[in-house]
Subunit: 141 residues, 2 copies
DNA sequence: GGTTGACTTAAAGTGCACTCGAAGGTGTTT
DNA sequence: AAACACCTTCGAGTGCACTTTAAGTCAACC
C-alpha cells in the first residue's frame, strides 16, 4: 500500500543493477512500467523493485525477452492466465534443470582432465596414457 | 595409432554434430586441423573426433572461442604449458560452478513462484498473500 | 553426364540483448 | 549560470558465434 518512496531512473537503476538505458529499453518492450511526475519524469516505487527483481530471476533462469513479454501479457490479462503462466515457469524450470545437468556432464570431463594434468605432473599417470584412455577408466557402466 | 578411417567434412560434421560451415570456421580460427587428400579435400580421423569432442566439452562449460584459441596455442607449445592449461581449465570450472550456483538460486525463486501459483489455484494460499510475502516465509536465516 | 559434395576467399547476414549517441528540450541543484 | 539529471525519437553500434552467399572449380558416383 504505502509506496511513498519514489525513485528516479538513475537511483532505481543502481538499486536494481541495470543501466538507465536498459530500464528504458525494458519499458519500450513492455516488461516494466514507470509512473511520471508532474514534469513527465519517470519514477519507480518499491513495488517496481520487486517486479524487476522477479524479472531478473526469470532472466537468470534463461528465459528470453520474448517469453518474458508473453509472460507479462498473460499477467496483465488477469488471474485466468495463472495456469498458462505456471506452465511457462515450469517449462523454464525444466529447461534450466536440463541445462544444469548438461553443464555438469561437461564439467565432469573437465574435472577429469584437470586430474589427468595433475597425474602427468606428479607422474602418478603414465606418460604413455592418453586422456582418452584415462577417461575410459570412469566410463564403466 | 591406427587412424585408418578417413572422414570427409560432411560425414565428420554429422559425427560431431557441427555444420560443415562451423568446422571450416573452427579451422580458420585455429581450433581444429584437418588433413588433405591428393585432391586437396579435407579429411578427419578418429583422433579428430576425440579432439572436437573435447572442444565441445570445453565450450559446453562456457569457455569462449578466444580462450579456446589460447588453450590450443598452449597445447601446441608442448608439455611445459601444462600448468597454464590446467589453470585455464580450473578457472573455467570455477566459473561454471559459480554459474550453476546462481542458476540454482534463481531456480529456487521460480520454484516458489510455481508453488505459489498452485497454492492460489487450490486456495491453500490466501488470496491476499502476495508472492513477495509468501517468499518471506522461506527467507528465515 | 548430371547430381552431389567438396574446394577457395571474402564479405554480408543473423539473432540476441543490449548500449550508445545525436540533437534538442525541461527542471533542479550548486 | 553552469552542471546535472532527466526527457524524446530513432537509428546505429557492439559482441559473440556462427551462418550463408557468391562465384567459380574440381572430382567421384550412378
Amino acid at each position: 500500500m504505502a509506496d511513498e518512496r519514489r525513485y528516479r531512473i538513475g537511483e532505481f537503476a543502481k538499486l536494481v543493477g541495470l543501466s538507465t538505458y536498459t530500464l528504458r529499453y525494458y519499458e519500450d518492450q513492455g516488461l516494466i512500467k514507470s509512473q511520471r511526475d508532474e514534469n513527465g519524469v519517470r519514477y519507480y516505487t518499491d513495488l517496481d523493485i520487486r517486479w524487476v527483481g522477479f524479472i531478473l530471476h526469470l532472466k537468470g533462469t534463461g528465459m528470453r525477452l520474448n517469453d518474458l513479454k508473453r509472460y507479462v501479457k498473460l499477467r496483465a490479462a488477469g488471474d485466468a492466465t495463472i495456469p498458462a503462466r505456471r506452465e511457462m515457469l515450469q517449462k523454464t524450470k525444466d529447461d534450466a534443470e536440463a541445462d544444469i545437468a548438461e553443464l555438469q556432464m561437461h564439467l565432469q570431463v573437465l574435472s577429469h582432465k584437470i586430474d589427468w594434468y595433475d597425474g602427468k605432473v606428479d607422474h602418478t599417470i603414465a606418460d604413455s596414457e592418453s586422456f582418452h584412455d584415462y577417461l575410459q577408466r570412469f566410463n564403466h557402466q
